[in-house]
Symmetry: C2
Subunit: 298 residues, 2 copies
DNA sequence: ATTTGTAAATAGCTAAAACCTATCACATAA
DNA sequence: TTATGTGATAGGTTTTAGCTATTTACAAAT
């Protein structure tokens, strides 16, 4: 394979039409440049330079190839320029994976700060279910995940962001609706509305409910938190909702959100990385930024 | 400056996601490839590869740079492909310089054969006056000239193609028009129509005429051979025309072309090259092709 | 014709680096 | 725990890009 340095020599010969000055421009001695050009010619089996005693010029073949050479040099310079740009750890693209029961309620709280603190980072947001996110993270399609931590994720690095309590959602007509707080034990014998299969929130909420002696309402399954909320307000039942999904609700006073007393059901929202991920400076900035944004919110 | 080989290693790592197999694909040992990748990373100050025990993948920076690297590799491959194509001595471009008093009358005789014998050569034809052609040849803008040879061209290499006689052109009414042949001496005291300054034919024709005792007709100067011919047919005078310009004339029986007896005035049409020009195989083919085409014509 | 000056090629050497084999360290799987 | 797969490390060899000094070639000037 040809060498980039040789192409620089060829370029310099064409520019200066003089071995000595071309060598000077390349910061090498004249014999070095002469020798390398000769080697290149030998390697290609072509005469590239027409040597006359007081004049040097490229042969037609050399003329043609110096144009090709300049394409290579341009591409190489572009490579180096990109590398230089990437040296700034706080620039580039960041693909973030989030789950549907978190993303729409979390992002409004954090994206403004992230964009301000890391203006040279392009954030790409990917919403999917936990299982798919973990696969994408593993395959390198995503750089990081923000989701409720589960035991099965221990092969990845974990940075805790905050704990999100789950609260009880009831309609105004429900027996529990008048309470200021509620204890998990009080759910005994109630049936709980749930999300459809595949949402990790479903599994977590059911976990808490089973412990408390409550059962799943098998008649309905919601496809999203918003459907679930609509079902609650329609008096179809009660459910557990993550607290972030209960904030900034525009005039939905048909629903009561009742916090739990200890032991509070909650989920640990964490940032997950492949172990050995290279851009830790950037990640640390993201972690501290998100923590800062969520302080006071939850 | 980066090295192309290193970019190939990076490319291979991305393709195989495995140091051993990438090394195999590059025909080097695994430690060699590992080492070179590490050096590249050190040189750029970037981690390009995420090394996990059983899995290798590129970091976001590596992902970005491997795309750049492939641009470089593509350009380099294009360079080598071009070089290979240029290895065929009978391919490529050939810029030919010709003078206006020869080109339009010579080309119809030679171009068909040239294109057939050298189908992979692209011929570019440049018509200009001798002085400019010599400058362009010297500067490398032209590969070869086809023109009447003159003493002052001895710094270039010369390949004789054919001798072109000059003939006397008269109108039907001119005293000399009845003759089958004419001798230069018979031009004594006639005035000769000439081309404008700068055409080498003008100088050559005048040379013959002065020797013969004829003078220039200063009242008119033609800008081209065709104007000159028109002036002759209009009975404005007589002139010397190169023989090629008298062939294949469509029904111009108002002009007589009279050959000279010995010593015949003529011009030596030669192919001129810079000494040291590299594509001699191609040139020899051109010379023999042109000679062949002109055999019998002149 | 001889001298002079310029520029490229050649000779001979040095140092860098690309590459090799052999081995180590470590994580995963059996 | 052991076996296996995989990348990193160690140490040595060969290649080559680079240097300085010199020679060769030729054009221009004397």
């Amino acid at each position: 394979m040809i060498k980039i340095r040789d192409l620089e020599y060829l370029d310099a010969i064409d520019i200066h039409r003089h071995f000595g000055r071309a060598a000077e421009a390349c910061f090498v001695s004249q014999p070095t440049l002469s020798g390398q050009i000769m080697k290149l010619e030998e390697q290609l089996g072509l005469v590239l330079v027409e040597r006359q005693t007081r004049k040097v010029m490229l042969t037609p073949a050399g003329e043609r190839l110096v144009a090709e050479a300049r394409n290579v040099l341009r591409a190489a310079q572009s490579f180096e320029a990109s590398a230089k740009a990437l040296l700034d750890p706080f620039s580039g693209d960041l693909h973030i994976g989030l789950i549907p029961t978190l993303a729409p309620y979390l992002l409004p709280h954090i994206m403004k700060d992230l964009n301000e603190k890391l203006p040279k980072i392009n954030f790409y947001l990917h919403e999917d279910k936990t299982k798919n996110l973990l696969k994408s993270l593993d395959e390198g399609k995503l750089d990081l995940l923000i989701l409720p931590w589960l035991d099965e994720m221990d092969k990845f690095d974990r940075y805790d962001l905050f704990e999100e309590p789950l609260v009880l959602a009831t309609s105004n007509e429900h027996p529990l609706s008048a309470k200021k707080t509620v204890n998990l034990d009080q759910l005994t014998n109630y049936e709980i509305l749930t999300l459809e299969d595949g949402h990790c929130l479903r599994d977590q909420a059911l976990g808490f409910c089973f412990t408390a002696g409550a059962k799943e309402d098998h008649r309905f399954q919601a496809t999203s938190l918003e459907t679930l909320r609509y079902m609650v307000s329609s008096n179809m039942g009660i459910t557990l909702l993550p607290q972030l999904a209960t904030l900034n609700q525009t005039a939905t006073n048909t629903i009561n959100y009742i916090p739990f007393t200890d032991p509070k059901p909650n989920r640990q929202i964490s940032l997950m990385l492949r172990t050995g991920y290279s851009r830790m400076e950037c990640i640390r900035a993201v972690v501290s930024c998100v923590k800062g944004s969520m302080k006071g919110v939850i």
